[in-house]
C-alpha cells in the first residue's frame, strides 16, 4: 500500500532545519532512520504534510567523546554506529547493550538514538540507559536552544517536552562517576527480536560512596527512573541483602499495564527479577 501523500524536504544545515520548523512545525515530522515514522505513516497514525529528513545535515552525524565533556550523540547517529564505538561499550555499557538489543541488526543500520527517544515509546530500549546516565537533551527551536534533562523529556505515551518548532540536535551523556559500570537487560517473548516486555538499565559505582541508579522501559507510560533503589545501598548489610532490598522498591516505582504482550502482574514480577539480575551482574556476583 502506498504511503499517504507528503512533501519531502532535506535540509543541509541546522539553520535551514530551524527555519523549516519555525514555518511548518505543526505539520512536519522529522525523519532520521524512518524505522518508526514510516510504519506510523503507513498505518495512517500520523499524517504529516512535510517529512523532513535530518540525515543530510553533517553536524547531526557527529558522535564524539572527551574526558571533559563526556559523550555527545548527534540526531542522525545510528544504533550500529553506537554499537561500533569502543568508548560507549566500555564506559556507557547500558547504552551499548540497549542499542545492541533494539530491534535487529538490519533495522539498527538505520534506526537512531534520537529517533528512539523522540518517538517516545514506553518501550524505547535506549531510554533507560539515558536515564541512569543522567543524559541531557539539546533541543533547538526558533527561539534558540535549551537543555532538557532526560527525566523531564518524556511526557507521556508518544509525547515529549519538545515544542512544535523544536528538534533534538544531540544527546549529551556526562562521564559516569569513577568506577561506574552500567548495563541493560531486556525481557522478550522471542530472543531474535521483540519489543521489551520489561527492560531495565542499572548503573552502579562505589568508589567513595554508593551511586546506584535503576530505570525501566515498558512498565509505565514513559521510561522511568526508580530513585529509591539508591537508599537500599546506603545502609548496612551484605551485597546480596542490598540487592534484595533494592528489588522491594520496584513495585512502588512502576505502574505497568496489561497489553497484547503480557499481563501487568507478570511485568511487575519480571521487573523485580531483572533488577536483581542486572545488579548482580554489575557487582560481579554472577
Amino acid at each position: 500500500m502506498p504511503l499517504p501523500e507528503f512533501d519531502f524536504i532535506r535540509p543541509k544545515s541546522v539553520e535551514e532545519l530551524t527555519s523549516i520548523l519555525a514555518k511548518h512545525g505543526g505539520e512536519a515530522k522529522l525523519m532520521a532512520g524512518g524505522t518508526d515514522l514510516l510504519v506510523l505513516m503507513r498505518d495512517r497514525l500520523v499524517r504529516p504534510r512535510y517529512v523532513v529528513d535530518v540525515k543530510g545535515i553533517k553536524e547531526l552525524r557527529r558522535l564524539s567523546w572527551d574526558e571533559g565533556r563526556g559523550l555527545t550523540i548527534g540526531a542522525a547517529v545510528t544504533m550500529n554506529e553506537i554499537i561500533a564505538s569502543d568508548v560507549i561499550r566500555k564506559r556507557f555499557g547500558a547504552l551499548w547493550s540497549g542499542a545492541s538489543d533494539l530491534a535487529d541488526p538490519t533495522v539498527r543500520s538505520r534506526a537512531t538514538l534520537v529517533g528512539n527517544i523522540c518517538n517516545a515509546s514506553p518501550a524505547a530500549d535506549t531510554a533507560p540507559a539515558l536515564l541512569v546516565h543522567s543524559a541531557v537533551v539539546e533541543a533547538v527551536g526558533a527561539k534558540g536552544s535549551r537543555k532538557i534533562p532526560i527525566q523531564d523529556f518524556f511526557k507521556g505515551v508518544k509525547r515529549t517536552a519538545l515544542g512544535p518548532d523544536e528538534f533534538v540536535k544531540a544527546v549529551h551523556l556526562p562521564n559516569p562517576p569513577d568506577g561506574a559500570k552500567s548495563w541493560y537487560l531486556k525481557w522478550k517473548r522471542t530472543w531474535g527480536e521483540d519489543l521489551a516486555l520489561v527492560g531495565v538499565a542499572a548503573l552502579v559505582a562505589n568508589t567513595k560512596k554508593w551511586v546506584v541508579r535503576v530505570a525501566f522501559s515498558s512498565v509505565a507510560p514513559t521510561p522511568v527512573l526508580v530513585p529509591d533503589v539508591q537508599s537500599a545501598f546506603e545502609g548496612p548489610g551484605t551485597l546480596e541483602e542490598k540487592i534484595e532490598k533494592a528489588a522491594t522498591y520496584i513495585p512502588g516505582g512502576i505502574c505497568p499495564i496489561t497489553d497484547v504482550r503480557c499481563q501487568a502482574e507478570y511485568r511487575t514480577y519480571i521487573a523485580g527479577v531483572l533488577v536483581k539480575r542486572v545488579l548482580r551482574k554489575l557487582l560481579g556476583l554472577s
Partner: protein
C-alpha cells in the same frame, strides 16, 4: 506532493528517475525497475524480506524512501551473479537445500553475502546475529545458517 529526481546505481547500472516523495525504495525497485527478486511482505520492517544492500549494508527497503537514495549504490539479488556464474552464497543455498518456499531467500542471501564481505570467517553466532532481522516462515533456519557457514569456507563444487 513533492517529486524528486534521483540518480541511483542499482546492480552497477545507473538509473535516473523522477519519484514521488512517498515512493519507497522497495516500490521503486519492484514497480519502477521491474526487479521482483526483492520481496514485499509486511511493509513495516518486521519480516526483513525486502532487504537490499545500500552501499553494502543490509537495509529493509520498505522503510527507506526512494528520494533518500539519490547518489547511493544498491545491490539486489539480481546483482549477485557474475555473468552466468552464481554467487558463493547462492551456490551454497542450493547445495544445502536452504530454499523451501523461496520467499525469504533473496533477503538471506544478500544478508549472508554482506556479512562475508565484512567478516569472511563468521562464527555460527555471528551469522545468527547478522540474519536476525529476516524471518523464514518455513522455519528452515538450520539449512540457511549451514549454507552461509559453508559459503565462508568456499562453497563445495
Amino acid at each position: 506532493m513533492s517529486r524528486h529526481r534521483i540518480s541511483v546505481r542499482v546492480n552497477g547500472q545507473l538509473y535516473e528517475r523522477e519519484v514521488e516523495a512517498r515512493r519507497t525504495l522497495l516500490q521503486f525497485i519492484r514497480d519502477d525497475l521491474d526487479m521482483t527478486g526483492t520481496k514485499c511482505a509486511c511493509e513495516r520492517g518486521d519480516c526483513g524480506l525486502c532487504t537490499v544492500l545500500i552501499d553494502g549494508t543490509p537495509t529493509k527497503s520498505c522503510l527507506v524512501l526512494a528520494a533518500e537514495v539519490d547518489g547511493r549504490e544498491i545491490t539486489t539479488i539480481e546483482g549477485l551473479m557474475k555473468g552466468e556464474e552464481l554467487n558463493r552464497v547462492q551456490r551454497a543455498f542450493i547445495e544445502h537445500g536452504a530454499v523451501q518456499c523461496g520467499f525469504c531467500t533473496s533477503a538471506f542471501i544478500l544478508a549472508g553475502e554482506a556479512l562475508l564481505k565484512r567478516n569472511p570467517k563468521p562464527t555460527e553466532e555471528e551469522i545468527k546475529e547478522a540474519v536476525g532481522g529476516i524471518l523464514c516462515r518455513c522455519t528452515g533456519y538450520r539449512q540457511i545458517i549451514d549454507a552461509i557457514l559453508d559459503a565462508a569456507k568456499g562453497a563445495k563444487k
